[in-house]
Symmetry: C2
Subunit: 486 residues, 2 copies
């Protein structure tokens, strides 16, 4: 079940073509955003654990918990993953069973859909301001456990059936740092005559502007990328170029929905693997791989050491648990302390992109992470942190690394540094890449498959298929569309 209607598609194509709009001029946006960065008085200080306020290590388990019992806990996890480069390990993990809301409000201005985005401070971000969704709220946030200010615009996402629902699905987050974490990803459109007050710190952006901003390092935050992955892409054409020129695309659609439906059906038929084969491959992966996890006390982790201000692995690899003291002025509360995960990054996440009869395909990887709800999700072709693999032998290095070698004959279409969740992860950056190559069946391994963009987008509307890194790259693929006349 897809969400695409030809009318929506036509409108999004117009939004993608609009690099400026009466709501927000792109140059004015940059000035506004830079002014906010300059004016930002936030302070993020790394502190010792015993200066955490409201958080403590539980005397029995050593788990790091909040006195309210809400937000999240830092616990231990023991994982058995037969066949993986490391088959058994223990680690700290964030446990946050609540399902929060990540929502973007959409509204037409003069027939052009705009997205209500926020310049938001998060302690883990480089910046520390980034562009976030209209609403980004844990359940603790919006039930106001911390007794802060109410969450603006929340009401549109609490009663989605009163508006036009473009997408609404639970999606996973990092399975190496979060235990079965899901957030509700929502795209909700209000009618053009709805009066939406524009609060300080928010701007209406077109899809064209968002695409442009996606090519900037550390600007569009993870939650925005996750929600935007639910937007449809224009269908591919059949002349071997990655995407239609937007003007052609617009022309195609002014003749009605039939072209769109035919193009959709055609795209799916042009997939390297038919839909049932993709489903069967995922079913095989989820049936035959056994991933067993057990929550254990944080104080019982062999190989992890606790100092007054860090919990670290004895090798210095993977990540640390640490704590920050945050002072700010543009969040629901003005000062707080919290634990965070500090990875030893940066990581790399890359899609190989190729065309089969004019239809774009990416090489996805079936990847098991201990925190996933359903064993395996579809990850980018390459997803790894080089520092964590440096000590492993060649046959345990991820496949396809040769495509990242400088001077390789492949064409790099996208190469941008982006931050992961700044509310939980401290300076967690990944370098996201899209690399164009020829479609080579030999690139497939038991864990890699060429999957078409229409197939990937269908799966995005269901939970537990596309991991957060794949969803980021699905959003970044938008930047490869050529704007009209551009």
């Amino acid at each position: 079940m897809g969400m695409v209607t030809s009318t929506l598609h036509r409108r999004l194509t117009r939004s993608a073509a609009a690099l400026d709009s009466p709501q927000t001029q792109l140059t004015e946006f940059h000035r506004w955003f830079n002014d906010r960065v300059d004016a930002d008085k936030s302070r993020i200080d790394i502190i010792e654990f015993d200066r955490l306020n409201g958080w403590h290590f539980h005397p029995d388990t050593g788990n790091l918990t909040h006195e309210s019992g809400r937000f999240f806990t830092v616990e231990g996890l023991s994982t058995d993953m037969p066949g993986a480069p490391v088959e058994h390990w223990e680690q700290p993990i964030l446990h946050q069973p609540e399902i929060g809301i990540l929502g973007i409000l959409v509204k037409d201005f003069a027939g052009i859909p705009h997205f209500l985005m926020q310049a938001k401070m998060e302690p883990g971000n480089h910046g520390p301001l980034q562009i976030s969704p209209t609403v980004q709220a844990t359940r603790s946030n919006y039930t106001r456990v911390h007794r802060g200010k109410p969450v603006p615009y929340l009401e549109y996402f609490q009663h989605p059936d009163r508006h036009h629902i473009l997408a609404d699905t639970r999606q996973s987050e990092q399975g190496t740092w979060f235990l079965r974490k899901r957030n509700r990803n929502m795209l909700i459109e209000v009618s053009p005559d709805t009066d939406i007050p524009l609060l300080d710190g928010y701007r209406w952006l077109t899809l064209g502007q968002i695409r442009h901003l996606l090519t900037h390092d550390n600007l569009i935050n993870m939650d925005s990328r996750s929600v935007l992955a639910l937007l449809p892409h224009p269908p591919a054409n059949h002349h071997g170029t990655p995407y239609l020129d937007e003007a052609d695309h617009e022309a195609l659609h002014t003749h009605g929905g039939d072209h769109k439906r035919k193009a959709d059906a055609r795209s799916r038929q042009d997939s390297v693997h038919p839909d049932p084969d993709i489903h069967s491959w995922i079913t095989t992966q989820r049936t035959e791989r056994t991933v067993t996890t057990q929550r254990i006390p944080l104080k019982n982790l062999p190989h992890w050491h606790q100092t007054p201000h860090r919990i670290t692995h004895e090798t210095g690899r993977y990540f640390n648990v640490m704590a920050v003291d945050v002072t700010t002025h543009n969040r629901e509360i003005a000062r707080w302390t919290q634990p965070m995960i500090e990875p030893h990054g940066p990581g790399v996440a890359a899609f190989l992109l190729a065309h089969h009869e004019g239809t774009p395909h990416v090489l996805v990887q079936a990847r098991a992470e201990p925190g996933y709800t359903d064993t395996v999700e579809l990850a980018p072709t390459i997803q790894y942190t080089p520092r964590n693999y440096a000590h492993l032998p060649a046959h345990h290095q991820p496949p396809h690394l040769d495509h990242l070698t400088p001077g390789s004959p492949h064409r790099t279409l996208y190469d941008t540094l982006l931050s992961e969740e700044g509310g939980r992860f401290y300076h967690a950056d990944n370098r996201y890449l899209i690399i164009e190559t020829a479609l080579n069946p030999d690139h497939e391994t038991p864990d890699h498959r060429w999957i078409s963009l229409p197939q990937l987008q269908q799966l995005a509307h269901h939970s537990h298929y596309l991991n957060i890194e794949t969803r980021t790259l699905l959003t970044c693929l938008h930047t490869l569309h050529q704007p009209a006349g551009g």
Copy 2:
């Protein structure tokens, strides 16, 4: 992502039209099946627990387990389900974390797809022979923990990618009796020139023959119904009749796939609720309902009493745990004992069916059961065991029961008694009904939605959406198609 191609559709339409075939004449099938029933020497004796062989109550927990540690265990489960008619309870439950295979082999004879079905004895069945899939094997079965005969035809399902995959997805089973049980449901087609030996106890049946047999009480077993739910239905026409006449349908398809694709797109546009609204409703249900379960020792269940031959609830409601001694001649092993669940049925599972602009819709219910993997699945309009509700006040009776009242103005299109899994459940029968009514938006409650048949079929290709009772009814909907000239 759907599995339907127009070629497959055309072939299935031919198979549905074939009530006889050179492979199997329907009258000969009935004679063959009745002869097997008459010749069946199976004995199923209800025994005391202490006569179980290889099974014992664990001294610490009281859980009923097999000495191999395989097959399944009978454990205790504690459930909290705020808002349900009963908000907290404890119960015995079957725990079987392995994922077994339910597979039907498909092969064209003279251009007509046939399905390889088996007359199989299961101790819980009324009969006790019923028509089962080609392969119906727990992982313990096919890894031969019980050291019995090998499972016939298993090889086609262990390497599905060597054949034509029609469907392959994990599906849930009864969430009130099983803890997170899933089986792999597979439809695998071999090429017409593959030589498949026809073993004793198996027959190749057309879709038309299967449809006919689905109208017989207790004949097509649960696993067959579950797998067959993955088959496409012909698209609806636009003249208000439930389904196309098969001959018209055939004629439509001989002109190529474009008609099919247009009809598909048209059907989905004619759904009462657009796809994103259905997704959002499911997401809301899964986000806002909290179902908390905890495995507990079987011997710690308040309100459940153990006698030498039964574990029963003090009210006499719900179900018993009991044990059987089975002697047979047509299974992998000739004699065994095992525990079973014996419900206090029969139950009722009913779809309200209505048309919206020519497209069939059914009223599905978002239903939480403690054993579901993902909180809520889509159940029939009505799914209940009358005896278990007799003591509850009127406002806790299931909605829509008035449609079942004799003499109501609605048209009963299907009314057949069918057995649930005879390998685990003793005489567990449900009366399955399809009742035609006018499409009334007022029939929707917060937990009920009208969903179109094409939408339901799309969801069938993903795990954890359609519960086992809905999948049975989706298969029974096949019987409403009119055979050519019939």
